[in-house]
Amino acid sequence: MTLPKRVSDFLRDRVLEYRNPCCLRVAADNLLLEIWGEPAKYGLDDLEVGDDVSAAMPLLSDYEFNEYVELPFVRDAVGHAFHVHLIPESDACFVLLLDATEEIRERERYQQTANEVRLLLDKERRLIAELVDAQAELAVRRKEAEDESRRRGEYIATMSHEFRTPLTAILAHAERLVADSAIADDDRKQLGRAIQRVSQQLVWLVDNLLTRARLEADSYAIHRSVTDTRALVDDLCLVFAPLAADKELSFAARVAENVPEFVMLDDLHFRQVLVNLLGNAIKYTFEGSVEVEIRFDDERLIATVADTGPGLAEEERNALFMPFNRGREEPRSPGAGLGLGITRQLVEAMDGTLTVESGQGTGTRMTVELGAASADSVSEAAAPLATDLIVIGEDDPDIVDLLEVRLAEAGYRVHSVSDGKALVDAVLKLDPSLAIVDVNMPGLDGPAAARKLRESGFHAPILALSGAGRRRDIEYALSSGCTEFLRKPPHLGTLKRLIQQLILSGRADGYPDSIPASKQM
């Protein structure tokens, strides 16, 4: 390109003015051959011909000067900013340095802004990603809350139905008993039995609901006591044989000969397990039989409930223990679908196992296996003595009536009070063979009353009753001086046997002393 001399001179002057060039001629071994321009601008003013330039200009180290190289925007360790042109010439190289201080500063300013914006965008990208994750999490939570709300709604509807149906039946039967004075004895008995049966189903339902609530709250307690195995099976037969008969099913219960008369287990919950299994078997069996068999092997109690119902396909077996699973709905059967899930949890809480053998069309066998040490038997012949007095501290008049009637039937003398303070006074005055205390009595609660009695020298057994049955209630009662604990409403057979056992053990320990005349009722 040819330019007018005036212009080319102008350009040369501008470059010299703005770029402050410095030119070095360097040999292949980095020795300085010649230097022109303004070396001071680049910190090279100390360089002399013959010096090794790589010390002052490290960028020249390890460069082979065999082709033209442009290195724009170079900044050295002390901050000089320049463009470098390496221009080879035979066995040497011209190194041309052009000042780039202003240019680099300008570029840095733009690039700084651009990079900061990119970093902000990057941060925004991350925040958006977090927001999207949070929204997704929120959607999942909302769906879970909606599902939970729907389940609760269905649960309340189911429970309302499950309570309403038997309550309506009880109400209708009771109204008929009250309204019809001329009702025949047989009809009256039949209505009474119907009320009894339906009430029993309600008690089971409430038991299962309470158990479920306790299992969910992890406040569940297993309380082992002496249990009469044959009496337990007899009780089950009394309840379930008529239910099976109503459906024209045969019902059988067998207890193997080697099963001990008494074993140590949680009577109430073992009973609840068998009630659920038998109730389910009868519910889903439409012809044939339902059987329960109790065996004993190596300190383990094995209970099997077998039916000739339609059986379960594999997928049904897998869903069997889910809450609110109601099995096949044809024909629809009553029940909340709570029983089997709770049954398995109960068995596991008692350190036992529950196994299911079933196939479509082959019926179902459910087997429960629990550790249950044989217990010293309590002689049925050990009848209450004329001196056996029981003092009851209970504020619920219905429970008091029930206990008074049943314990009097069993041959005990009974004295009842309705608060803790009166209980302490009565026990200290009458020195009974046994005291029964309600855990939640007004004034002084049962365990507090028991503690006061122990401190006052009362040594005979104290039986605590509570509707709650939480672990902390049991621990509170037993640590306060109560001898045993039973949940309300107590099973009357269990209550009578436990009272008998407690009084016998109290007698063996020498209590009560002979009753002084002054303390006779």
Binding site: Y63, R107, Q111
Partner: protein, 170 residues
Amino acid sequence: MRTAKVCIIGDFAVGKTSTVARFAKNEFSPKYLTTVGVKIDTKEIETSRGRMKLIIWDVAGTDRLAEIEFAYLRGSAGIIIVADGTRAPTVDSALRLKADVFDQYGKLPIVAMLNKSDLSQLWEIDDDILATSKAEGLDWIRCSAKSGDNVAKAIEALAEAIMSLSADPT
């Protein structure tokens, strides 16, 4: 004394200049200042094979190498690749840069520094990313220009590799 040119490369704002400042001057500034072009610094160190002068070319951040960066990298004896542990995409950039370098200059000694290990609460690099990266030839060393953690160790390992290669070029 053996001199060796090493280039430090990586995506923008991963902490290359801070790493060099920590290594060469034992300094750290929390303020982010962009690099334009290339900054050249030196540091003499002791290796198992004798004293060595490292001439460190701190190349402006980029996620791909172009003609200008190739000019800066010419004559390098080794490469320091830096990524930001709080920005996962910078690891991908590092993998691309390593491939560009190897394509142009062959398999040079390389050290991979995963910077900002002090910001553990913002860390984005999980074990899967590390494993994938390792399989592709970058075995990351977690380090922090801020605390100095592992900075000298990583660069000195590269110096040892360079010395070892020059002693036994096979």
